[in-house]
Every structure is written in C-alpha cells, then in structure tokens.
C-alpha cells in the first residue's frame, strides 16, 4: 500500500479547466452532444451528455438507469436467500461467478458456517476463470474502441473456451447459479481438471500474441498513453477499485488485503500500473493491468488445480436459511473491482435489505473527472478502460 497524498479539505472537481491535448487553450462555441444510450462504444445503454468545444471535451455528464432492474427490491421480495443468487448473476453478466461469490460469502458469514476446503478451491478456480473471461471482454472491446476489431474476436474465442468449461460444470454458459450458500450446485465433472490445465497451457501464448497485436502496437500506445490519467488520490477518494485503482499505482487487491476463500494459500501478486508508456494511471496502464492480471489468474488456477483436495461440495446447512438478525458487509475482488453486499437480516428467511456496492457504478462516477480536456476519441477509450457493465451500474 503506497502512501496517499493529502487531499484538499473539500474536494471539488474543476469543470472550468480546459486544455486541449495539443497543449493550448482553444475557445469556440460549445456544443452539447449525446453519446448514447444507443452508441457503439458506450458498452450498453449508458448515456453521456458531452459538452464539447470542437473535439475537446469540456464536461461529461453521465446519465444512468436505462438498465435498472430493481435488483434490491427484488431481493427483498424473494422467499429465501437462495433465490437471490440468480439475480446476482445478472448484475454483472460478464462475471457472474464473481457476483455469486460475493453474495454467497456475505450470507455464509452471516450464518457463520465454514464451507469445505474443496468448495473453496473450486470457487477460486471458477472465480479466476471468470476473471479471465471478463478481462478478455474488457480488453477485446477496448480494442474495438481503439478501432482494432481483430483482437476482439481472438479474445472472444478464448472466452468461449472458458464458457465451455463452465457449461460442462454447471450447465450454463453465462449466468451460472453455481455457487450456492454453503457449497456448489454441482461437483466438478471428472474431465474438468484436465481440460482446465489444457486451457491454461493454451492460453499463455495467446496473451503474448494479444499483447503483440494490440497492447504494444505503437498506434495503440500513442492513443492510450497519457490519456485519462486518474491520479492516486482521486482514485481513492472516488473509491475506485480493481484494475482502475491498481492502474493508478495503488497496490491494493482484496484477494490479498482482505483475504477470503483460499487466496492466501496461493502464490500470486497483484499487478499495478507503473506508467511504462506514459503517466501512472493512464488508460494504457489500466489495460496492461488487465492483461497481466490474466497471467496471474492463470497462475492461480494452475496452483489451485494442483492443490485441489477431495471431499464434499456442500456444507451442512439448515434446509431453510435463516440468519440471525444483524447486518453484514462482505466484499470480494471481482474483475471490475470491489463488489460488496450489504445485507440486513431480520431473522426471517428473506433478506430485509440487500445493497449491492457495484464496482462499475463507483468506477463510472469518476469518468467526468478524468475525461475533461480530452477529445471525443479519448472519451471513448476512457469509458472503455473503466470497463463498465451496465447491468452492474444500474442494478
């Protein structure tokens, strides 16, 4: 954890400061442009109201809520805790397993139950596979934002292989409902371990190829370096998390710093942005953090597969889940950052209140701060590097 700079007593953003990326101040009539909700690069139904001065962005006002599906209200109206899990899946449809993990962890902590070690290992394997799948979407679509279409399809092909592993395990490709309270819905199928190992060996050279094709391409580097710089103090003040925060050079990963599951038994390290191509915290740093995290995830998966113990995949839990009255905030590291569930129980079989602290929502709120002064083309890349999933932003 690096030292954080001191903030001014009252943090206010400065919309008035405009400097073009060409370096001089230009002033002409401002124009308001609507980017989205139907726009190719807003990754869903995000609407950005942009005030532009020529191509230079003066201000960005995000409008969200187009995909609001009342997750929290639904969760309060279920008949039991288990039923919330399919809804959790749909928060972040690119990384459903990680959402489940967070929710399940919260409920298990409320119930004060220990799950078998095999379950924890399988959860880690699945969560890391899902992290790779999610990062593949992130970097692939980021390539599209930058104008390179081919890397996207390479990424999607690799993601398909991961999804096939999931389908083999729990029967669904996207929204798994695989982590259940106290365990898993299915044990791993017999051929899973071999297939997962096969995937790991296949995937490592693919990362390198992807890097050669996109990450270290000079055009791409020039497009992303020094763009959308998110300074450390602003990142922490806006509670950014995940690759957003690590891209700004903060060595912070919940898997290591607020340990859950069996991550502490596995050797790995969080990757942080170092400003190799430009400033620390620019768009390229966030991209490279994702790329390197995939490599780390492969390492974690390989170790977890090797250490996978035998055993049961369901802890002994009561048939009707009734946590004691109380409240809990549990958080895990999802591909997009810290996903927390704040659950209040009133002792009945239904959660009284479920609040999802969605990382994409929080990360998106910093978008106006980091995109002022850039160009429209930069905004597209910055929005892409935040890696939002609108399902999670709007819940």
């Amino acid at each position: 954890m690096s030292e954080t700079k001191t903030l001014p007593t009252e943090y206010v953003s400065h919309p008035g400061e405009i400097k073009s990326s060409l370096g001089h101040t230009v002033r002409t009539d401002e124009m308001i442009i609507n980017m989205g909700p139907q726009h190719p690069s807003t990754h869903g139904v995000l609407r950005l109201e942009i005030v532009v001065d020529g191509e230079i962005i003066v201000d960005v006002i995000p409008h969200i809520g187009y995909l609001h599906r009342c997750f929290e209200k639904h969760a309060e109206h279920m008949t039991n805790y288990q039923q919330v899990i399919p809804y959790c899946d749909r928060l972040d449809y690119c990384a459903a397993i990680n959402e489940e993990h967070s929710y399940v962890l919260a409920v298990e902590r409320m119930l004060k139950i220990e799950v078998p070690e095999r379950v924890e290992y399988i959860r880690v394997i699945m969560a890391e596979l899902q992290r790779i799948a999610s990062h593949l979407i992130a970097v692939g679509t980021f390539g599209i934002d930058a104008g390179a279409f081919t890397p996207f399809l390479y990424a999607f092909h690799d993601r398909e292989l991961i999804l096939s592993l999931f389908e083999m395990t729990c029967g669904a490709r996207l929204l798994y409902n695989y982590f259940w309270i106290g365990g898993l819905s299915h044990d791993l199928p017999p051929q899973f371990v071999d297939k997962a190992k096969e995937f790991c060996t296949y995937f490592k050279p693919r990362i390198k190829e992807f890097n050669d094709l996109l990450t270290y391409n000079e055009i791409f580097v020039k497009r992303t370096a020094n763009v959308g710089v998110l300074p450390q103090d602003v990142a922490i003040n806006f509670a950014c998390s995940g690759p957003m925060l690590r891209g700004s050079g903060v060595n912070w990963d919940l898997r290591r710093d607020d340990p859950y599951s069996v991550y502490h038994k596995i050797e790995w390290e969080p990757k942080i942005g170092k400003g190799e191509m430009g400033t620390v915290g620019d768009v390229w740093d966030r991209h490279i953090v994702r790329m390197r995290e995939m490599e780390e995830s492969v390492k974690i998966i390989e170790q977890a597969l090797a250490a996978l113990p035998a055993g049961n995949v369901q802890a002994a839990i009561p048939k009707r889940i009734r946590p004691d009255a109380g409240e809990i905030y549990a958080r895990t590291e999802t591909p997009r950052g810290e996903l927390g569930f704040y659950i209040i129980s009133d002792g009945s079989g239904t959660p009284y209140r479920v609040k999802g602290r969605a990382p994409a929502f929080v990360n998106l709120s910093v978008l106006p701060e980091i995109s002022r002064g850039g160009m429209i083309a930069d905004l597209v890349l910055i929005a892409g590097s935040v890696d939002i999933v609108l399902g999670q932003v709007d819940r």
């Binding site: 690069s41 191509e55 104008g147 081919t150 055009i219 020039k222 160009m375 597209v380």
Partner: protein, 348 residues
Amino acid sequence: MEAFQNLGFWGTLLVTIVLSALPLVFVLLYALVTIYLEMKVAAHVQDRVAYMRTGWHGVLQPIADFIKLIQKEDIISVAANKKLFILAPYIVFMGTYGAYAAIPFSSIFIGANIDLGAFFIIGISSLVVVGILMAGWASNNKWSIFGAVRSAAQMISYEIPTALAVLIAVMITGSLNLQEVTKFQAGGIQNWLIFGGPLPLLQKILITPFTLITFLILFVASLAEVNRTPFDLPEAESELVQGFFTEYSGMRWALFYVAEYANMFLVAGVAVALFLGGWESPFGSFLSGPIWGLFWFIIKGMVLVFLQIWLRWTLPRLRVDQLMYTSWKVLTPFLFVCIIAIGLILVL
C-alpha cells in the same frame, strides 16, 4: 484512341459513351469482388469463415446485398437538407469515378489520355471532399458533421504528401501523363520506379532507397485519402457511429460504399501506374501485350487493395491530432528530403 478519330458526331458520342461506361462496369464488378474479398479476408484473419450460404462459399452474397440495398426504403430525415442530402452521394461517386478517366488500364485503354493525367486525378478526387462535407452538413446530425469535418481536414492534409509523392515520380520520368510514366518503366521489374526506374546503375543504386520511401509514403497517404484504417476517423464507428453517412441508408448508402471501394482501387491504380510499372509485365516483354497489360494492371492494383484490407484488420485507429502529426510532421518532411535527394541525384 487514335482508331476512333473520324467517326462524325454521333459516332464519336457513341464511342465516348461506351468507352466511359467500361470503367463503370469494371468498378461495379470490382466492388462486388472486393467486398467479398474484404469480408473473407477479415473473417479468416479473425479465425472465422464469413459468408457460407449464398452459393459456393457465399460468392453470391455481395449480389444479394446489392439487391437488398436496392429494395430498402429511402429514408431522408425530416430535419435534413433534402437537396444536398440527395446530391451528396452522387458528387462523391463522381469525384471518384471521374478520376478513373486518367487511369491507364492497358496500353490501348485509357479513358482520356491527357498530358496532365496525374494532376487531373489529384484535382478531381478532391471533389470527394465536397460531397462528404455536403453529406455531413445535410444530414443535420452532430455525429455526421463531426465525421464530415474530420474527413475534409484529413483529405486535404493528405493531398500534400500524395501530391509530393506524385511529383517525385514526375521528376524521374519527366511526364505527368500516366501512360508515358508507365511506358518509361518498360522492361521488367527492375525498371519500375520503386526500384529507381531505368536509370544508369550508379544513379539507380543511389535513388532506390528514396523511391522506396516515397512509395511507402504514397501508400500511407493514399490510405488516409480513402479513409481506411488506421485513418478511418471520418467513419470511426466506435466514436462517430458511422460518421458522415450515419443518416444514409439503402441505395444512397450503397453509392457511398461503392465510391469508397472504387476509391481504394483508384489510389492503388495511381500507385501502380507511378511506381509499380503500371500495365507493364514484370518480366519485360514476356507475357506483355494489351490484354496481358490489363491483367497485370488489375493484379498489381488488387495486391495493393489486399494490402489495404490486411492493414485494416490489423491496426487500431489514430486520433485526430496524431493523424495531422503523421501528415505534416512525418510524411511531408520525409518527402521534402526525398525530393531534394532525388533532384540532386538526377542532376548528377
């Protein structure tokens, strides 16, 4: 052309119409082929297969697309400037197609064998900018106007390196007539301008690096002229939706599309005529002749078109300021160096 000298008014008119329609037939056929080629190359580069259902490996798909586009409803948005909106695609197509007049397809076929051929092509293809600006303005859509303004800035900027590169070829050959330039490069691959042309050995060795660089720059600049990746900012779909033709659909859109593909071959044709020996056979007099000439010209052009397609599916896109940087701070200075060096070598 000399064969059609004394045919009287009607005869000349008929011959003119037929002759000027020939490139149009070529352009349309070529567009179908290239659209197919582009889709197939894109797909295979991305480990896909693209069209497989219409005909053998989907060869009929471009025709099916064309039929679909003809049938589509003609939509003009209420707020659009109707006259300009309708006119714009034709002007864009005219600008592109007009330039085909001076392209030497073969030793016996060139639309108009004018002495200022290269100059004419640069001039008339600027008409495309007018059409694009018109389309962007008339669409009454903020994204369209962005695309149009970007496009205008880009094309005008990149005319400079293009013109300078053409100038270098003209310096070596001493003619603006593309037919003459082609004939200058007769005698096989070693006599192409990209390898210095048929000059004395010492001069040739000295000049070759500069002509190679010039050809490279001409190719890069031509990519920008036709709005292809990495210079496809005017129609950057991730930023500007579809740029200046966001509001177009159906046949008008198809006209833009055909114009874009025709433009691709146009710039390739200019580069071929200037630097790659035009319709001359790469093996000297072997396999040469008017028909073989046509074959060689199209093959060479298609190789460059394939290169454009290949680049498109490899590279990301530049930003506006980087685009300008490339033109004004990289390509143009390099060409000035080349001009001076080649000039000095030529007077040697």
